[in-house]
């Protein structure tokens, strides 16, 4: 009898150990594939921005995306992850931060830690996404070096500070205002959009975008189909992004704020938001570029409350945003004369505001695990914090780069084309008309 009891106890212990291991492995596998799916966002940005560029700048635009991706990986390892762990309470360093130092025992292969690496990976892809949001707005005139510096600042210093404040269970915006932004419409999209606004004010428009009399001239990209496929890839990658926004625990799924949620909720509202945004944008523009941007608008507009909304409400909310945001982009381009080549300020910055405030209007009163319940005033105050946090560093950093002549390509290079000027390869060699003379060797010193 005693032996049987001992046997059962041993089996139970083994079973518990096995279940715990299965949970840990499932979590690792889940975030591994979320990270892999998020790479599709970067394939999407790559195609989208190359297509939106004139053929003379197609490769330079692509290199910009590749550089942002490549530089953000080490930058987020060396400093970005530490910033996220360090500053949830504001600007004082929390005790948990030491685990994010690049010389910490958690920041490398460790039998006892199966979480740090996989979360670092997912957050790095969030970081690269944030930096890439700025990328498209600046095409065809920004210097690669200036862009790379800005991408690192945005992706490894700014958005993650915002995420520590409001996309973290102990973030001060959460504990003070009850801020709710479950899919990072604010921490990623709004901050990136306002950072972009700051950069574009210093960068200025492409040559020829505006006539002396203020007339707006269309500069169309060389491949709308490439842009559309790129945007669809971004939508696909969003499923990895949104998967990375939900926490896998032994007890089930929770939001990043530790409130209950599940992938089923995300499944309902992600798709309904995509549909709503696309239909809204089609209704007001009839333009396939804006239809696909409408998909992004839809997800961002309902992103902050993706865990809470009735799917029909998410559809209507995203539909409304899909109708309004393209018009706001027109105001940015035509009234304020800001040459945002892909509508990033409106699609990410303004829709990020929409998403944050929508929760305050449509989902007020939901309780939080820490801090007050969700409220419009809490959402509004947090939105103001994010607007400032995004805009000020973007404006200041680009101002300094401009002062040192590192922000913008030379006018000659811009006119000739950035590919011809500095890329030792040709996008379309068979149809290429050399800018200087037939059969002249490529000018890049890289060769």
């Amino acid at each position: 009898m005693t032996e049987t009891t001992v046997d059962v106890a041993a089996k139970l212990e083994a079973l518990e150990k096995s279940l715990s291991l299965a949970h840990t492995l499932n979590a690792e596998i889940f975030y591994w594939w979320c990270t892999a799916l998020m790479v599709a966002i970067h394939a999407g940005f790559l195609a989208y921005e190359m297509g939106a560029s004139r053929s003379k700048n197609a490769l330079a635009s692509g290199i910009k995306n590749l550089l942002a991706f490549a530089f953000l990986i080490p930058a987020f390892y060396f400093v970005g992850w530490w910033i996220y762990l360090a500053f949830p309470t504001g600007l004082t360093i929390s005790e948990a931060a030491s685990a994010g130092l690049p010389w910490s025992q958690n920041m490398g292969p460790n039998v006892a830690d199966q979480a740090s690496g996989i979360f670092y990976a997912a957050f790095t892809l969030f970081a690269a996404t944030t930096a890439s949001i700025m990328s498209g707005a600046c095409i065809e005139r920004i210097r690669l070096s200036g862009f790379t510096i800005l991408a690192v600042i945005c992706g490894a210093f700014v958005w993650n500070l915002g995420a520590a404040w409001g996309w973290h269970p102990q973030g001060w915006l959460v504990t003070s205002f009850g801020f709710h932004d479950v899919a990072a419409a604010g921490a990623v999209h709004m901050i990136a959009g306002f950072f972009t606004l700051g950069v574009l004010l210093n960068l200025g428009p492409r040559i020829g975008r505006y006539s002396a009399d203020g007339k707006v001239n269309e500069i169309t990209g060389h491949s709308m189909p490439m842009s559309l496929i790129g945007l669809m890839l971004i939508v696909m990658g969003f499923f990895g992004f949104l998967g990375g926004c939900i926490i896998y625990t032994a007890e089930g799924w929770t939001t990043i704020y530790n409130t209950p949620a599940n992938l089923s909720a995300f499944g309902f509202n992600t798709l309904m938001s995509v549909g709503g945004g696309m239909i809204g944008a089609y209704l007001v523009t009839r333009d396939p570029f804006w239809m696909m941007s409408g998909a992004l608008i839809g997800v961002i507009a309902s992103g902050s409350g993706l865990d809470l909304y009735y799917p029909g409400l998410a559809f209507l909310n995203s539909f409304a945003a899909g109708c309004v945001i393209p018009k706001l982009n027109d105001i940015v381009i035509r009234k304020f004369k800001i040459d945002d080549a892909v509508g990033a300020i409106a699609v990410h910055g303004f829709t990020g505001i929409w998403g944050i405030l929508a929760v305050g209007v449509l989902a007020s009163g939901y309780p939080n695990m820490e801090g007050p319940a969700i409220s419009f005033t809490g959402q509004f105050a947090s939105m103001v914090v994010y607007a400032v946090l995004g805009f000020v560093p973007g404006y200041a950093a680009s101002y300094v780069l401009k002062a040192f002549g590192l922000l913008r390509a030379s006018p000659d290079a811009e006119l000739v084309g950035l590919d011809k000027t500095e890329v030792p390869a040709m996008a379309y060699p068979e149809s290429h008309i050399p800018a200087f003379a037939q059969n002249e060797p490529h000018v890049s010193p890289a060769e």
């Binding site: 530089f71 080490p74 930058a75 060396f78 690049p102 010389w103 025992q105 958690n106 490398g108 292969p109 460790n110 039998v111 006892a112 830690d113 210097r143 690669l144 070096s145 790379t148 510096i149 590192l406 390509a409 030379s410 000659d412 290079a413 006119l415 000739v416 011809k420 000027t421 500095e422 200087f436 000018v443 890049s444 010193p445 890289a446």
Partner: protein, 58 residues
């Protein structure tokens, strides 16, 4: 070079190269930052050379 922080897998935790030598990890991290900074400087020089070339040709 013996970079292993462990001599047995029994009870091993952080087992990456030099995990038991924080000073070496700091040095490697610093080198990583320097590599990134150097590439940026190289990028700037490349751009400046290209812009000057285009200016002369135009």
């Amino acid at each position: 070079m013996n970079s292993a922080p462990i001599t047995t897998w029994e009870g091993a935790e952080a087992y990456f190269t030099f995990a038991d030598k924080p000073a070496v990890l700091m040095l490697i991290a610093a080198l990583g930052v320097i590599v990134g900074a150097y590439t940026l400087v190289s990028m700037i020089r490349h751009e400046n050379a290209c812009y000057n070339y285009v200016k002369k040709k135009s």
